[in-house]
Amino acid sequence: MKKIEAIIKPFKLDDVKEALSEIGIYGMTVTEVNGYGRQKGHKEIYRGAEYVVDFVPKIKLEIVVTDDRLDETVETIRSATNSGKIGDGKIFVLPVEEAIRVRTGERGDDAI
């Protein structure tokens, strides 16, 4: 099992959700996050006062998939979010030791 963490642009969420459901992935955790990488915050000036935005608003997706579905899922996320520009985001893949469905107690791949 692998956990995919993807940081994407907020307005791409619907596209990703749709693309993932097309390959049969329906479950995910979505969080509104702030951060910066190469795309930094910026400042705006209004009436002489500076308004600094330190962080760029992003969406974090978390999806746990079985190993055999990993590549397909990552590629789907990537192609749905890729515009060739800075700020498109990043995808991280982490190993998952165990998954347990709370209701039934099922473990491993069955719990995903």
């Binding site: 907020p10 307005f11 795309q39 910026h42 400042k43 705006e44 006062a49 308004y51 962080f55 800075i86």
Partner: protein, 877 residues
Amino acid sequence: MDSPEAKILIEQKQELIDQYLQGQEFNFLEKMTTRLDEYFYRVFEKSIAARKMVISGNPFAIIALGGYGRKEQCIHSDIDLLILFDKAIPPDVEAFVQELLYPLWDARFEVGYAVRSINECIKMSFERFDVLTTVLDARFICGASLIYSEFMEKFRQQLSAKHLKPTLNYLYENGEKRLADFGDSTYLVSPDVKSGFGGLRDYHTLLWYAKIKSNIKTRRDLEYYGFLSHFEYENLEDALNYIWDVRNRLHYISQRKNDTLHFEHQAEVAGLMDYADTSGAPQVEVFLGELHEKMEFLKQIYQITFEDIVSTCRIKKETVASRPTKTDGLFVKKRRLYFANTVTIIQHPDLLLRIFLESGQTRIPLSIEARRVASEFRHLVDDEVRTDPACVKIFKRILGMSMWKFNVLNVMLSTGILAQFIPEFSSLVHKIQYNQYHLFPVDKHSIRCVQILNGFKYPDDTMMGSLYHSVFKEIRNKNVLLVAGLLHDIGKADPAKEHSRRGARIAGPVVDRLGFSPVEKEDILFLIENHLFLAKTATRRDIYDEETAVYTAHKIGKIRLLRMLFLITVADSKATGPKAWNDWTENLIKDLFFKTMSIIKTGELASKKTQRLIEKKKKDVLDLLRESWREEEVNRQLSAMSRRYLLYVSPQNIVEHINLFRNLGDREYIWQITKDNESDMRTVSICGKDKPGFYSKLAGVFFQNNIDIVGSQAYFLGDSYFLDIFNVRPPQDRLFEKEKWEKAGQDLSMALEDDHYLDNVLDKIPTEVTISSGSRPEDSQVRIDNETSSFFTIIEVLTYDFPGLLFAITNTLYRAGINVNVAMVATKVDQVIDVFYVRDIEGDQKIESEEKLNQIKNAIINRLPQMQSKEVMNEKN
């Protein structure tokens, strides 16, 4: 430990709960209290340890504190106990506590206890507010009653002698702190029925205040001592019984002391409270509506109490006698507003509005009687009142007085006067949207929205607060903003329909009655119809794309509308609840606001004139391509192009580009050279995949091949393509022109391959240029404008033309890590103004660092040759 007494108590409690849940026991709180009292009697009677202490001259009293003291024991409420000694505390007390409390702990009762002497306890009471309030509720259970009475006497004496003011101050500050900690619980998705505002704590505060001030003994005394009127008292009883019922069921379901009515518990509690439709499904909306109404009442009572505490603490004592107000037909008594008599209301129905104005201005609340009277006579607010200019004016002033701490508009709503004055509003009253997102019924939400808008009146220390404040200050007609805020959800009565447009339609007649001018009306209806537009755009489109801001600017059009829409968006989201509003959303919306503002201010891309020009151009392009292209295909191409491009590029060139783009395929770029018959110039149209430095390399290749650039424009197409136009003079040698262009093409391919292919060309850029125009040349200038656009740093270069100029500038930019996104290069005789819209390659955003901007400026200046005039040359010669 097996205790027969505890066993009896547990059995009794279970029996009581069963009866209560079956609806056979209406006095649970007091009965539960009595059962506990009985337990303590029994253990005390039988205790050897207790007897020992009494015999050895250490009598003591067992005293109930807090909620137990008030006889308000819910299923899993804490039991607060005080074991009070006259002076010394004997060691035997430990054995007694074991006998008394261990069985209760074993049975999972939440028992807290303290063992103190009288003096110790009094000292602590005035040191710690939480101790003081529990002592205020102290009630004797058993033991030596003299100790209890001596303690209470001493406590009262000290309280009135030296602690009255600080205690009231405590009460006041505690209220402020509670607001900060818990917020307003009325209408929360998960209301805290105890500690939140509108929770039981509001009633406790009133009770404590009355106990401190007048030493009242029970809740009933609140009316007898004049803290509440008869109506207020009856309403309070009603609200308390309801909330206790909810709390008991909540305790029962969660099997512990839990006072937060979580979302997932609501349906179950509603079911237990017998809220069910004909099919038996719980009617959660109805239940929540009623709960919120009761909590709202507690909050109102609290706010009146709060006013009283403030006036006792800070203002001179109010006389008991009534006094008239500025408004005829009203009077004030004990800091409450009353109608003088009902006959005057019939003669002057505008009093039904004026009382709210008076209340808002003086911050004196309406008495509960006045609320009842207003409600009963509300039918007098008829069409005549609704359209009377004086009344309309009063209403607008009331709107501006809707504030958090004293929201007169809420009272106007609860009396029904608001819905009577604006009948369209009545469809929203108590309209609950049961989901995790909307916390408030639509009527309350609308008023909160007005209240939040009014809050922007005051400066705020936070960055965002000061932004809202400064935007608010710039809005000239606040009434337009407030009325739009009040009516923005007026279309929500029908949940199935799209409410924004519907709302604008319903609001039309309201706005007419309120006497707004046609322009103001248009503004209000626009704001209502588009109140979701900014929030939607900010979250569903790429706000870092200039086109998004241009689209937004085009839709909104006017700066005053943008300002108002921004504040309404913020107020609407904040009034919806924490899920609709957080830093994250705030950042997105703020950014879109700034970016749109600069687009509207500049006027270049979103004005009506621009729109007309672009529409005309699109039509021309369609006409030109009609033969070879399908119309929808052309439209698709056109909609992908930036407005700046459509604005500045001629229809003929657009057609060239569309054709080029179609033929581009997988190639890096494709160009087309056309001959201009009239001026013997060549136009080179180039389309390709965007790559930093491309524009600079083009300029370099032209320079290398002695092709003289007269003008040039560069644009981007969508995310990853560019479209450039170069106006150039033909090569000197016309015979081999075709070959010359081929050579230039080869050089360009080499330059794209090898980043340093053009390095040797750099050396050919002249270091001195002689100006032919005669007059003394001005120094070259580089101006950097970082304010006009939110998306680009704009660099303007003013200088004289010379071969290689464009390459000199753009190569410098490229080497400094800057990408040219848009360029407009024009030569007039020999003077040149080149404008570049650039972004940092690394971060793909405008350049923020002052240091970097200066470096770029200097680098360009240093790259440009020395300018000399002919005269100077002549003098030298």
